[in-house]
């Protein structure tokens, strides 16, 4: 395994590190790791470095890089919105690997917004044969405020029902008046949150994303939805698919999995190990199955 610092893109302003396997990796799809929010390319808790090195040991060429304005890549001056520039720059990353490593198929992976970039790039580019979507959040634009408020309430409801109900400290807070009862009742659904499920599901943006997942699954792109237990992204996917997650996950090209005892960024070492194991296993399978 060897690592090389690289610059690519129209003005060579995108910075990344390629991890090459000991043997020629061009017969496999290359893996590209996409920024988790604004955390630079080493990933939360250096997870992308760990994953890249494990994958290189398994024979993959892996590129982790910074989108413009993140980490070491300078900000763009052309006012192209992130939704477009992120896809364009990921395609530039693919072009770079195609030119320098002779790879023509790609597996994209990203945590949080990295999953969203992976999704949009997969929709836009047929060279993407698989996308590992980890704790994806932000498929639905933030401008859809009512949906985001609903998602936060759903997550808190899940917390109250799954965890707080069984926690001595939570009950102590309740009986000592340190809990806002109005909020609690709203979150638990006793008070209405003012947004009916039927209205949400008709939102054209969520419909478009749901249809996008369906098209990818029906076509050439394998999808792995990987979540930490209790992650807000689980609720978002549920809203996007109008509760039919199991239906999508049942397709041959789709896998859905939840890591227990993990937070959004896989902070504990045990959850990191489990994340790397599951991600590595799926990507390894992809190397043998994709066309």
């Amino acid at each position: 395994m060897r690592e090389e610092a690289v610059h690519f893109g129209a003005s060579k302003s995108l910075v990344g590190v390629v991890t090459d396997p000991a043997e020629d990796g061009s017969s496999r799809p290359a893996v590209i790791l996409l920024n988790s929010g604004i955390i630079h390319r080493v990933g939360p808790n250096r997870l992308y470095v760990t994953l890249a090195r494990r994958l290189a040991q398994a024979g993959f060429v892996v590129l982790r890089f910074d989108l413009s304005g993140i980490g070491d890549s300078i900000i763009r001056r052309d006012n192209v919105p992130f939704e477009r520039s992120s896809v364009q720059e990921t395609q530039e990353a693919m072009a770079y690997l195609a030119a320098t490593r002779g790879v023509d198929r790609f597996l994209l992976a990203g945590i949080c917004t990295g999953a969203v970039v992976a999704y949009h790039t997969a929709r836009a580019d047929q060279r993407v044969v698989g996308a590992l979507l980890i704790n994806g959040q932000g498929y639905i634009p933030e401008s859809e405020e009512d949906i985001h408020a609903y998602l936060v309430n759903r997550q808190r409801r899940r917390y109250y029902l799954d965890r707080a109900l069984y926690s001595l400290e939570s009950w102590r807070k309740l009986v000592t008046g340190r809990v806002k009862f109005g909020d609690l009742l709203r979150v638990l659904g006793v008070k209405r949150d003012g947004l009916r499920r039927s209205q949400r599901s008709r939102n054209p943006k969520t419909e478009e994303i749901a249809s996008g997942f369906g098209s990818l699954a029906d076509g050439r792109t394998n999808l792995f939805f990987l979540y930490s237990a209790g992650d807000l992204g689980i609720e978002e996917l549920n809203v996007i698919l109008d509760g039919r997650v199991a239906e999508l996950a049942a397709r041959e090209t789709v896998r859905y999995s939840i890591v227990g005892q993990a937070d959004h960024m896989f902070t504990t070492l045990a959850s990191q190990e489990e994340f790397v194991r599951r991600a590595g296993e799926w990507l390894g399978q992809m190397a043998g199955t994709v066309r």
């Binding site: 929010g37 902070t267 070492l269």
Partner: protein, 265 residues
């Protein structure tokens, strides 16, 4: 417009260190600065701040080198292999790289939190520094460990290690990174009040705490060498904040850049 950075690895391939060079805005400069990162979750949370600082120093005419210690960031090695002494030597190697690759004659070092301690120790061990910036330095290893363990214990349950490890006085992981016995011992032995001589003719101590907690170190270093610059600019603790909510401390960055540029002071 900000210039592109040049990213590269230096050193032997098996132990190579990742670095980013920010060229000075002036075409030729004999001045350079090595920036030393803090460790673990503080590194991840302050990386953006370092990029801003580097750009500001490059605008002020410095060749700036940000680099990752062995076992951290993009550099070779695993975090479990890291030792404080090795990071001090890595920093010494970065001083050499700055001189060799960019023909720098006057080397400054700057660091935040543990990075400040590493910069200071590297200056003492490897010498040749023209200036030193200690930004909210970790002055006491045991105090630092206590703080980060307390910070970890305030996290939601899913972000904390198992209860067995949590209750331990020497945990095996802290805020997403392994903590080996060796590194724990290195940190536990760290004490900047042991420093008897400041290794640069110019030193700036930056204190962003509301309570001016670095006054004690200032008095100690002045006693050891005299003439320590001191800037007290209160700001929230960037290194404890969620990266998405971090506000870059531009007043401190400007102050550091002004002090480093004013070479006659």
């Amino acid at each position: 417009m900000a210039a592109n950075v040049e990213a590269f690895f230096f050193g032997d391939r098996a132990t190579q260190l990742f670095a980013c060079h920010h060229p000075p805005s002036a075409s030729a400069s004999e001045y350079g600065a090595v920036l030393c990162y803090p460790m673990g979750h503080e590194y991840v949370r302050t990386h953006r701040l370092y990029r801003f600082l580097a750009r500001r120093l490059a605008d002020a005419g410095f060749h700036v080198l940000r680099f990752d210690y062995f076992g951290t960031g993009d550099s070779a090695g695993e975090f479990e292999e890291a030792r404080l002494e090795r990071w001090v030597d890595d920093t010494g190697a970065a001083f050499g790289e700055l001189r060799r690759r960019f023909l720098v004659r006057h080397v400054y070092a700057a660091g935040l939190r543990l990075g400040a301690a590493v910069a200071l120790l590297a200056g003492i061990k490897h010498g040749g520094l023209d200036g030193l910036v200690l930004w909210d330095p970790v002055t006491s290893g045991p105090g630092y460990l206590e703080d980060v363990i307390a910070h970890q214990n305030q996290q939601p349950q899913a972000s904390r290690p198992s209860s067995i490890d949590r209750d331990s006085r020497a945990p095996r992981e802290i805020m997403g990174f392994p903590m080996t016995e060796a590194m724990y011992g290195d940190l536990a032995a760290l004490d900047l009040f042991d420093v008897t001589k400041v290794p640069a003719p110019r030193t700036l101590l930056v204190d962003s705490s509301d309570e001016s907690i670095q006054e004690k170190l200032r008095a100690h270093l002045e006693g050891a060498s005299g003439g320590i610059g001191y800037e007290h600019i209160p700001h929230q603790k960037t290194w404890t904040q969620d990266p998405y909510k971090t506000v870059v401390p531009s007043k401190i960055i400007d102050s550091v850049a002004r002090w480093m540029s004013d070479r006659e002071r």
